[in-house]
């Protein structure tokens, strides 16, 4: 059986000059040949620093940005070949939840209007059925039916994010793209939304691509983890092995950089040589080598491929020295 979402060599480019004499001359590769799949009912966590291309990848999946290369298959259909009514139908299979619930809900629409809109468009519900379904969706995210006539500003951040989840569920998607859904929320509120997402996973067997820079959140929720660095996936595998025995030096640096809420664990900064933005843009070889504590001359010449650690393993890493123990 083919996976629900299948990305093959997905590449997205942006023109670095939108206008002026250099328009179209230079292009920046935000996503560089990403292959990744999400099966039915599976939660895949996508982690990486700001600017690594994780949000752009999610936007490419729903065709919010055009592809420069590669293919996206959703439920066996090639998204690139679809247009018009067929594309609209395919899009109801996948829904997005955004980081900022203050920005993703229209302040002039009541919660009812926000949730009813996809029901009208995609499921053609009207009248009583529409009211009933809206109320049911509100309850499924733990909000009372009667709140449906209120406006977004009358809700807290956590409640707004739940409304965004309810709206995403309205079209009965099979895949949710959650782009940093809890990053702007306070700890106690974050817990509510994480519990809701975890509950949906168990109850509705939803598949999810969960994007976050917070590894503890990703670990809590995901079956599988993909680590992205400068537009590429550098490590991928089941959550447990990736967290317990990370093979890529970048994953290890990311793990050691997370502040752990445990004062008995001494704090040590990750062994990185510079920070992401002050490092130059590398166009050949390993893109991480200028920050990598393990880089050798070979890293500048060979472009490491994402390969399985062992022939039978699903744990893959893109590093020439992936089998070596960290220094």
């Amino acid at each position: 059986m083919s996976p629900l979402l299948d990305l093959c060599g997905v590449t997205v480019e942006f023109a670095t000059a939108e206008s002026g004499p250099r328009r179209g001359r230079s292009r920046m590769r935000a996503v560089d040949g990403v292959s990744l799949s999400v099966s039915d009912g599976e939660i895949v966590g996508l982690v990486g620093e700001s600017g690594c291309g994780k949000t752009t990848l999610a936007r490419a999946i729903v065709k919010l940005v055009p592809l420069a290369g590669g293919t996206i298959h959703l439920d066996g259909r090639d998204m690139g070949a679809l247009s018009g009514a067929k594309l609209r139908a395919a899009r109801s299979t996948v829904q997005m939840i955004f980081q900022d619930p203050y920005a993703s809900l229209n302040p002039r629409m009541t919660v009812f209007d926000a949730i009813a809109e996809p029901l009208r468009v995609h499921r053609r519900l009207r009248g009583k059925a529409l009211v009933e379904e809206t109320g049911r969706l509100m309850e499924s995210v733990g909000l009372a039916r009667r709140l449906v006539r209120k406006y977004p500003h009358e809700f807290s951040g956590g409640q707004r994010q739940r409304i965004a989840v309810a709206r995403a569920l309205a079209v009965r998607p099979r895949l949710i793209l959650a782009d940093e859904p809890v990053s702007s929320l306070d700890v106690s509120i974050q817990a509510q939304v994480l519990n809701l997402l975890s509950d949906l996973k168990n109850r509705m067997k939803l598949a999810m691509l969960f994007i976050s820079h917070d590894l503890s959140v990703v670990r809590y929720l995901s079956h599988r983890i993909a680590v992205m660095y400068r537009g590429r996936i550098v490590e991928e595998g089941d959550a447990k092995p990736v967290f317990e025995t990370p093979a890529h030096p970048y994953t290890r640096a990311l793990m050691s950089a997370i502040p752990v809420p445990d004062p008995s664990r001494p704090f040590r900064p990750p062994p990185l040589r510079s920070d992401a933005l002050s490092a130059g843009t590398l166009t050949h070889g390993c893109r991480f080598r200028d920050r990598c504590p393990m880089a050798t001359e070979a890293c500048a010449e060979l472009d490491p491929k994402l390969e399985a650690l062992h022939p039978s393993s699903s744990h893959r890493a893109a590093c020439l020295r992936k089998h070596e123990k960290p220094a």
Binding site: E49, S188, A191, L215, R219, Y220, P269, D275, L277
Partner: protein, 333 residues
């Protein structure tokens, strides 16, 4: 003698919707060489607390009052703008969450770092610039000789925050307020900035008040922690004690809501309800409506911070009645 001592600080904002008690009777004392963390959720008053001490809150609309406030033994009058100008940016400095807006985009890094020396010490530009270069070296910026001539937009977020730190420490202040200085940065950069702060703190002996909402950062950096809720301190303890034995129900609930402390697949404990509207009069404990241990008494009795262990205080009625804490469980020490 503490470097900073503030007793019963209140910052109230007079708004159309009533008086908002953003900081309501907080006492803060910071010793030399100490890093004190202030944690709490958005809107709990942690930033306003620091800005009130720095004299950065505009009065009016705010009303700032306190029983006593001193910096290194000298009384501090936050209302006296002339006096504050001589202290702020000199003996007491601050770094902010967003290093881009904290820097002047029109000024070279060199002049920005040298500015505090020129203003507070009257140092000539020619003498101040070498010191700025030393400061830039101390915060670990590569190629400082060429970077110092650049403008803020030529620096990454982490490097900008390093520039802010250099600027904040160049006058060798006694106290540094760090208001969520790593929240806008990536985790790997955050780790580097935290390591730098810790190193500089050890080298210069500056006391730091570190505001954050991240318990991970607190655990790695701070000697002592104060937990704030609705403008008040609800618990204060040495870091290890706070994580080992959180006594206030709010602290306990916050720690249980952290995904890093939960096992995978196990539900996270949430805190029901929302923080109170600070424009309304709150009787008794502000956390009582969300507290699982609350009794009817909690909304009528005035909460006081009372000792529940060595250097550990909490503002909970159960503590006052001796039901929890080392004193309650083991008898008086």
């Amino acid at each position: 003698m503490p470097i900073l001592s503030a007793v019963n600080l209140r910052t109230h904002f007079h708004t159309r919707h009533g008086v908002v008690r953003a900081v309501d009777g907080v006492s803060l004392s910071v010793e030399q060489n100490e890093i004190v963390g202030i944690v709490g959720e958005s809107g709990c008053g942690k930033t306003v607390l620091c800005q009130s001490i720095m004299g950065l809150i505009p009065v009016p609309p705010a009303h700032v009052s306190y029983d006593k406030m001193s910096l290194d033994g000298e009384p501090l009058h936050t209302a006296d703008e002339r006096a504050m100008r001589a202290i702020r940016g000199n003996h007491m400095t601050m770094i902010f969450q967003d290093p881009m807006t904290a820097l002047n985009p029109y000024m070279r890094i060199s002049d920005q770092i040298a500015e505090p020396l020129r203003i507070h010490r009257g140092t000539r530009r020619a003498d101040a610039l070498p010191k700025a270069l030393d400061a830039l070296k101390a915060v670990g910026i590569p190629q400082p000789e060429s970077r110092i001539r650049q403008y803020p937009h030529e620096f990454s977020g982490g490097m900008r925050q390093r520039v802010c730190i250099a600027m904040a420490l160049i006058t060798e202040p006694k106290l540094l307020f760090a208001d969520e200085p790593t929240t806008a940065l990536d985790v790997t950069v955050q780790a580097q900035i935290l390591a730098l702060l810790k190193e500089l703190q050890a080298r210069y002996g500056v006391a730091i008040v570190f505001v954050t909402h991240d318990f991970g950062v607190v655990a790695g950096l701070c000697d002592r922690v104060m937990v704030m809720y609705a403008g008040k301190v609800v618990e204060s303890a040495p870091t290890a004690a706070l994580f080992a034995r959180p006594e206030h129900p709010y602290t306990e609930a916050l720690l249980r809501a952290l995904p890093a402390r939960a096992a995978r697949g196990q539900g996270l404990r949430t805190i029901a309800g929302q923080p109170p509207d600070l424009a309304r009069q709150i009787d008794g404990c502000a956390f009582a409506p969300r507290c699982e241990y609350a009794t009817p008494e909690c909304t009528s009795v005035e909460m006081k911070l009372s000792a529940c262990g060595s250097g550990h205080t909490t503002a909970c009625l159960r503590m006052q009645k001796g039901e929890i804490g080392e004193l309650g469980n083991r008898g008086a020490e």
